[in-house]
Amino acid sequence: MTQAGLYTLAASALAGIGVYGLLARRHLLRRILAVNLLGNAVFLLLVAFARRQPGYVDPVPHAMVLTGIVVAVSATAFALALARRYYAETGLDHLPEDEG
């Protein structure tokens, strides 16, 4: 198996784990972690594809992922600020529509 193939498989498993975390847990912080796992899966997929041809590394996906890492941390920081404010207002650490 090639390196690109191996990391493509790893990325798909990571995406599956992320989806599971997003659906199966309802603590807000855990959901934010799960979304970050999904994001990492997408990054891994892109970078694995940049390496699919031997002896050539595509710089364009790398640039997209570098941009993506900064956007991901921005979105995470905003989501965490939202979660903190939500907890301060309601005392809840999960969304009411998730009440089982």
Binding site: Q3, G5, L6, T8, L9, A10, A11, S12, A13, L14, G16, I17, Y20, G21, L23, A24, R26, H27, L29, L33, L37, N40, A41, F43, L44, L45, V47, F49, A50, R51, R52, V57, D58, P59, V60, P61, A63, M64, V65, T67, I69, V70, V71, V73, S74, T76, A77, F78, L80, A81, L82, R84, R85, Y87, A88, G91, D93, E97, D98, G100
Partner: protein, 316 residues
């Protein structure tokens, strides 16, 4: 040998990810997520993406981790009171959705890998015309030359995230961690260590910024190192949160975007297109933009961690 290492790394990544999702304690999940970020950095290095490894180690693992731990402490009482338990969706439903989506990604990825790679791609074009970008590093050439619009938009996203976080921010006394006064009961070695680490950090950031022109490095990595220094100074009380953003901070927040946009717009007249640079000036202009961007990345990230509108220096 190489593939065995990749196998171990992929296994480690997946094992950690499983623990992040499945472990009972929230603190454990957060810490394992930070460890996962470090393994991701190793994976980027294995996949011939040293720029990403640098950025991931500093931003993905370091800053995201600091933000998560700070938020964990703010949300902690809730977790101790009652574990909210699983979501309304039954566990088998979540598991089925997870397995199906993982299989979908795997099938699509496998099919795409099987296709013959196109002879002409944006990446090959960028590599072939790297000389026109004014820099020698392919990644910097793409980020600030061929796809400058993405980079500009990304810094705007960061600023918008900071502004959004300000809108929903809690009062200053409930802002992020860190002592209210420097030097109160801190270990003896903190001050001498900071005196060593902070100047070194600034030098490392400057080096990363400079090296972006010809080797791995650049505005993102330099900005991340500067933001890490900001977090360090905030945690040791040297930087105190403030309720207002000072004029200098405002300038630093928007300066990179304004400079980038101004040079980009000037490109319509002096070069071939908007966000193109006149060829003789390309390298100095890119370096100037990168310096502005590094500051425009570092300051919002530090302020997002601090949970305040501004920061004030406070000598002990």
């Amino acid at each position: 040998m190489g593939l065995a290492f990749d196998l171990l790394l992929a296994g480690g990544l997946l094992g950690l990810a499983l623990q992040v999702v499945a472990s009972r304690g929230l603190f454990r999940s957060v810490v394992l997520f930070i460890a996962l970020g470090l393994l991701m950095a190793l994976a980027w290095a294995r996949l011939a993406a040293p720029d990403l490894a640098l950025a991931e180690a500093a931003i993905g693992a370091g800053l995201t981790g600091a933000l998560l731990l700070s938020a964990y402490r703010a949300l902690q009482p809730a977790e101790e009171a009652a574990d909210p338990g699983p979501a309304a969706l039954p566990r088998w439903g979540a598991l089925a959705a997870a397995v199906l989506s993982g299989a979908l990604v795997a099938a699509l990825g496998w099919a795409a890998l099987g296709l013959e790679a196109p002879a002409a791609s944006a990446g090959r074009e960028a590599l072939a015309r790297l000389g026109e970008s004014g820099v020698k590093s392919p990644l910097t050439g793409v980020l600030l030359g061929f796809r400058a619009i993405d980079t500009l938009a990304e810094v705007v996203v960061l600023l918008v995230a900071f502004l959004g976080a300000r809108v929903v921010a809690e009062p200053l006394q409930r802002a992020g961690p860190g002592p209210s006064a420097p030097g109160s009961g801190e270990p003896v070695l903190t001050a001498p260590l900071l005196r060593l680490v902070v100047p070194m950090g600034v030098i490392v950031a400057g080096y990363l910024l400079w090296s972006g022109g010809h080797q791995p490095g650049g505005a993102f990595q330099a900005g991340a190192v500067l933001a890490a220094l900001g977090v360090l100074l905030r945690l040791t009380g040297r930087l105190q949160p403030a309720a207002a953003t000072s004029p200098a901070e405002r300038l630093a927040l928007v300066g990179g975007i304004v400079l980038f946009s101004a040079i980009g717009l000037a490109g319509a007249g002096t070069a071939s297109a908007v966000l193109a640079y006149p060829e003789a000036w390309a390298y100095p202009l890119i370096l100037a933009i990168e310096t502005g961007l590094a500051v425009a990345i570092a300051l919002p990230l530090t302020l997002l961690f601090s949970g305040s509108a501004g920061l004030r220096w406070r000598e002990r």
